[in-house]
């Protein structure tokens, strides 16, 4: 179905479940990818994605054209993923895929890249791990802004539509997020 998200949602609101499936297929990879950044592993990210699209199904009548559909997905994904993390924290639970101590909770490329020194590969992995931890420590809105800008390549307007903010507010949010990241990653920022 070569229709935009608004048209698909409009059709879905009128009972066309094929339109809903088309939306799921179109945005599934994004939702899982975004969820994985919060929860750390693919399996949990798929569970989050299930909840996100179930919520889309249940809330279809509340969707209005004024909302950005991908923004709506991004916001729901962040909130549901964060709730999942809090549930795990309360239950002290780790998914099976995260029991590997070296890559606990990470779905990142490890090891050396393209002929680099193995020790550099270890340092790179450590940097990536620290960056990921620092992002995870940000308040949710700052996490969302940083991830959507730097990991999804969204521009300020698109981030603003997702977070219901005007562009100046997005800039301010990103500034605070980067400042907070800078504090956590000071040791790595001083490196040349």
């Amino acid at each position: 179905m070569d229709l935009d998200d608004f048209e698909l949602m409009r059709r879905f609101q009128q009972g066309d479940e094929a339109a809903y499936e088309a939306l799921v297929r179109r945005h599934l990879a994004f939702v899982i990818r975004h969820a994985r950044r919060f929860v750390g592993d693919h399996s949990s990210a798929e569970d989050v994605a299930q909840d996100v699209f179930l919520r889309v199904f249940r809330s279809r009548d509340r969707f209005r054209k004024a909302i950005s559909f991908t923004g709506w997905l991004a916001t729901m994904t962040g909130r549901i993923a964060l709730n999942e993390l809090r549930t795990r924290q309360r239950k002290r639970w780790l998914p099976r895929s995260a029991l590997d101590q070296e890559n606990a909770g990470m779905e990142w490329r490890g090891g050396s890249v393209g002929g680099e020194d193995p020790s550099e590969g270890v340092l790179r992995q450590e940097r990536i791990s620290k960056v990921r931890e620092a992002i995870a420590d940000l308040p949710l809105n700052q996490q969302q802004a940083i991830l959507l800008q730097n990991f999804e390549g969204w521009d300020l307007e698109k981030i603003g539509r997702a977070l219901s903010l005007k562009v100046p507010a997005v800039k301010s949010l990103l500034h605070r997020a980067r400042r907070n990241l800078g504090k956590r990653l000071e040791a790595y920022l001083a490196e040349d």
Binding site: R33, H42, V131, P139, N180, A190, E191
Partner: protein, 130 residues
């Protein structure tokens, strides 16, 4: 200023490195949809209620609303998401001492959902600022 620019550029570099290291997502959309279709589309607590009980409760709702609207203390209140967020905020703030609330760093709070993170911070960090 040049030191700040250099740190800014280094931060960009770190973020780019982390982003490039993400493993691409591979997912079987058909399997995902099959699993999604097997899940109940209404909240579990709704489908768990016996039908006669559900119908009785549904019949009482208009009566309850009418009585509430007629009550002398009632005001027109729309319990939308914003109001519920504010109630969550008030509930959270009620657990803090006034002196703690006064030192809250606004930079730590982006919107109400983030206050749960503040709740987990040690008190002496709540007032951290530049």
């Amino acid at each position: 200023m040049s030191d700040m620019n250099s740190k800014d550029q280094n931060l960009d570099r770190l973020l780019k490195e982390a982003s490039a290291a993400e493993v691409p997502v591979t997912v079987d959309a058909t399997r995902f949809l099959a699993r999604l279709r097997s899940r109940p589309t209404s909240p579990r607590w709704v489908s768990a209620l016996p039908r006669p009980l559900w119908l009785s409760a549904a019949a009482l709702v208009p009566l309850a609303l009418l009585l509430w609207a007629m009550a002398p203390w009632s005001t027109s209140v729309s319990l939308d998401a914003a109001i519920l967020d504010e109630l969550d905020l008030l509930e959270l703030l009620s657990t803090l001492e006034p002196a703690e609330i006064a030192t809250l760093d606004p930079d730590l709070i982006d919107f109400y959902a983030d206050l749960e993170i503040v709740e987990e911070l040690p008190v002496d960090l709540l007032g951290v600022s530049e």
